[in-house]
């Protein structure tokens, strides 16, 4: 007889009873009416991450983010004063796109339709043949329409609401505060991937906050690295007002493949630390687990910052295009390689992340297509899928708040 009784397992869902346990309806994933409500109450009200400050490093540098969900295009530009501002990418004369490419650099923002020119602060500074206008152009009132813009730890956020009800700092709250100091800006080499995926945006969000699918969906790739068993691998779960957090352990018995081993040994796979020794912000690996592998920080509504071992991290953003179509974007950030062998290691990491994502995206499309069949009307959820409940709950709260106003 063993002296030690096995510790009684407390299911994760029972630790958060307020999230409920009934199967969830598929309606929020398929209903065009619900999608319209989400557009207004969620994407039209919340702070949305559009780029990083390194995307616009110098005065005059700009970056354009298409926001189909809000029928607009946002132009982020760094002014001569160094401030990063956001505007609707819409000329105040005849509504043409002012910036036509995703990124660039300029001394002033010039619309190529009739040649109206705006300063980097959005002010209208020149109108060709101004005397020819039927009524004098009130230049002070015809600047680019500003969008509330702020930055946190180098991430640029915009808010398309007419008068944002919260500052970015209030929106992020304690969730983000405990990540402050993470050396995001040192990891400024990145790979960017995009794909249009035929599914509701929440199917994609769920796929990347799902601790239950690893063992099956990723059986060829990641499963062995994380064991696929949330009872062993979930180190910590936290829910904030809108955001959510999962800290996950790795599998200490994981057997690296030959190429993974090369990346590890020769390329500085996990060994090139950008942390000061022994230092980590409190929000990273908060349980200080010895077997820590990754933290998944899910920013409501549509952004993930996934932190891995020192030296790299990735950001996912998911942009709705329609109730059943979304734009997936992944950016995989690294500290710049010190030599060409490390460049190989970074490529290997990026490729394995990419191929794992390809495993998820095809399933997301299959799910969405099947939701139209009428064969099922709800999802029963496993304890490791509890994040999906939180997402739906927060969206419902946003919609209720919008309807009360």
């Amino acid at each position: 007889m063993s002296d030690s009784q096995p510790e009684k397992w407390v299911r994760w869902d029972t630790r958060f009873p307020w999230l409920g346990k009934a199967p969830v309806s598929i309606q929020p994933y398929v209903s065009p009416e619900y999608y319209e409500k989400e557009r207004r109450a969620v994407f039209g009200r919340m702070w949305l991450q559009v780029c990083r400050v390194e995307d616009v490093p110098n005065p005059g540098d700009y970056f354009v983010r298409e926001l189909a969900v809000l029928d607009t295009s946002v132009l982020v530009v760094r002014g001569t004063d160094g401030i990063v501002r956001g505007f609707h990418n819409v000329c105040a004369h005849k509504a043409n796109r002012v910036a036509l490419s995703e990124r660039g650099s300029c001394r002033a923002l010039n619309c190529r339709f009739h040649g109206w020119t705006y300063g980097l602060d959005g002010r209208l500074i020149s109108v060709p043949d101004e005397d020819g206008f039927c009524e004098p152009v009130k230049k002070g009132e015809r600047g680019l329409r500003p969008v509330a813009t702020d930055t946190w730890e180098g991430f640029v956020f915009v808010n398309l609401g007419p008068n944002p009800r919260e500052t970015l700092e209030e929106f992020l709250g304690e969730f983000a505060a405990c990540l402050e100091g993470y050396p995001f800006s040192k990891m400024n080499m990145y790979f960017k991937h995009q794909a249009e995926v035929g599914c509701n945006w929440k199917i994609l969000v769920d796929a990347f906050q799902d601790g239950y699918h690893l063992r099956s969906q990723h059986r060829y790739s990641l499963a062995d690295m994380f064991m696929g068993d949330p009872r062993k691998s979930f180190a910590d779960v936290k829910f904030f007002k809108r955001h959510r957090f999962l800290s996950s352990n790795g599998n200490p018995a994981h057997k690296p493949t030959p190429t993974e081993m090369l990346a590890f040994v020769h390329g500085g796979y996990f060994s090139q630390s950008v942390f000061p020794p022994g230092w980590m912000p409190p929000g990273v690996n908060p349980t200080r687990s010895q077997e820590w592998a990754t933290d998944i920080n899910v920013f409501f509504p549509n952004m993930f910052i996934q932190l891995i071992a020192p030296g790299w991290y990735f950001v996912y953003t998911i942009w709705p295009l329609a109730v059943d179509r979304s734009l997936w974007e992944a950016r995989i950030y690294f500290s710049p390689p010190e030599n060409a062998a490390q460049r190989f290691a970074r490529e290997y990491i990026m490729i394995t992340v990419r191929d794992s994502i390809l495993e998820d995206l095809s399933t997301c499309e299959n799910v969405q297509a099947n939701l139209k069949s009428g064969a099922i009307d709800s999802f029963p959820l496993h304890e490791a899928e509890l994040f999906a409940r939180h997402l739906l709950k927060v969206i419902d709260e946003c919609i209720h708040e919008e309807e009360r106003r």
């Binding site: 080499m189 790979f191 190429t259 060409a340 495993e359 399933t363």
Partner: protein, 109 residues
Amino acid sequence: MTLPEEFRDLERFAAWALPTESERSEMRISSRMEEISAFYDAMHAQMGAILPYLGRFDVNEMPEDAKQLLYLTLSLAEIAPAVEWYDQPTVIDGFDRRRYRSAPVSGSP
């Protein structure tokens, strides 16, 4: 293509010395598994010498022959999952790679 003297025998894999992820990925998914495996085996046989060799270079200041060698290693990274995970060129039951767009890497070559 010319490779550094000690790796000349890998010049028969010149078709894999491609500068972008998109090109390397297209090469992977349009190749037969026997071709991928032959490249994988030949590269792994020499990676123990290749990586220390590449470790001497700054990625921004590489002679052309070393750069071609780096591209071969990046193709090895590209095809590694085909050999080690899937045993086929594409991701098993995966999303169509041609619908998944890669931008050029930013902040480094």
